[in-house]
Symmetry: C2
Subunit: 201 residues, 2 copies
């Protein structure tokens, strides 16, 4: 099984990663070989460290190296009564860059996609419901920030249904023409949504 040539093996392993084809992996390997070897050893070390230490936060399913919850969940400056549900870590990080939201998160690690066989049990939905039923947490508002796609909307609807019993106010992030965007270039669905969801001035 094991190919003799380590360069070919490295190229094959890199090609397994998303967006990296055969040509790109060759370019990456040649670049690494033409730079200082030190950086290859460092990369190998960091990879091992990440594989060893990084796991999901037991509360919100964000990535962390801490045993007692991630930096957001264990931060004293975050408001634990507002919970924002996101589909992915990328989405969480995007919201964090706004520096507007001071609550805590729950990462689903995907959206419902029954056609692809992804049901509630495949996401972090059970742990979300357990978290909400835990009285000690005392969440007072839930923001559903799954993406405004078919799957994201379906996931938000499903969650809203499941969480009705908790009697906690639930909201959905706004969707419409992006700020600074041009109406004539907005797609029809976005534009009609933005008309439907118009606010009083």
């Amino acid at each position: 099984m094991q190919q003799q040539d380590p360069v070919k093996r490295l190229m094959e392993q890199l090609s397994q990663l998303p967006g990296i084809g055969e040509r790109t992996s060759l370019r990456l390997v040649l670049h690494m070989l033409s730079s200082a070897r030190e950086s290859m050893y460092t990369l190998a070390q960091t990879l091992t460290e990440v594989a060893d230490r990084v796991k999901e936060c037991m509360t919100c399913a964000m990535l962390t190296t801490e045993e007692n919850g991630c930096s957001i969940c264990s931060s004293l400056s975050r408001d634990r009564t507002i919970l924002c549900v996101v589909a992915s870590i990328q989405d969480l990080m995007a919201i964090e860059t706004t520096a507007e939201f001071r609550g805590v998160y729950h990462v689903l690690h995907g959206t419902l996609a029954p056609m692809d066989g992804i049901g509630p049990q495949d996401l972090r939905i059970p742990s979300l419901l357990t978290r909400l039923s835990n009285k000690a947490e005392a969440v007072r508002e839930i923001i559903l920030a799954t993406p405004p796609t078919v799957e994201g909307e379906a996931t938000a609807l499903y969650l809203a249904e499941q969480m009705k019993g908790f009697g906690i106010p639930i909201s959905r992030i706004a969707s419409g023409v992006p700020v600074g965007g041009d109406l004539q270039y907005a797609d029809r669905l976005t534009l009609s949504r933005s008309m439907q969801l118009r606010r009083g001035f």
Copy 2:
């Protein structure tokens, strides 16, 4: 210096690679973390092995793990009397995929670029000239396969000049409209080159 969070460190190190930005490196790390950890350890291992074992062939400057020359230089089925000079390992591999050329190579690892401070000493030109002056090698034909770009042509011209004294026939790869290509879409330079270099029918 060392950042606490290994995920951030891994992202930073991946972003150093060509064509990988912040967003891509995040996607790569998240993909690796959501796959089997085993593959991260394997990748780290292969990286270390490549960094440990891969070096330049002492004859042709191709990458190899062998002490006594690369697989092409040490192959008994290759014709050592025909030498093809290429700018990069990618170019060598491209020629190898044609399976037409049965000679040996010399990899320059770049092209001359005086404006960027890349002179003959920065490429594998000294080792090429030493190789040719070595009578034991007895090269009978040299093919200059540097790319048909400004730098590639300049490098070929420079090499031809330097190698004149050896009395070995020197040729340059053909450049013109690509096979299967459309004349109307060929750029002007390529088209006029292909007219100038026309052959008797």
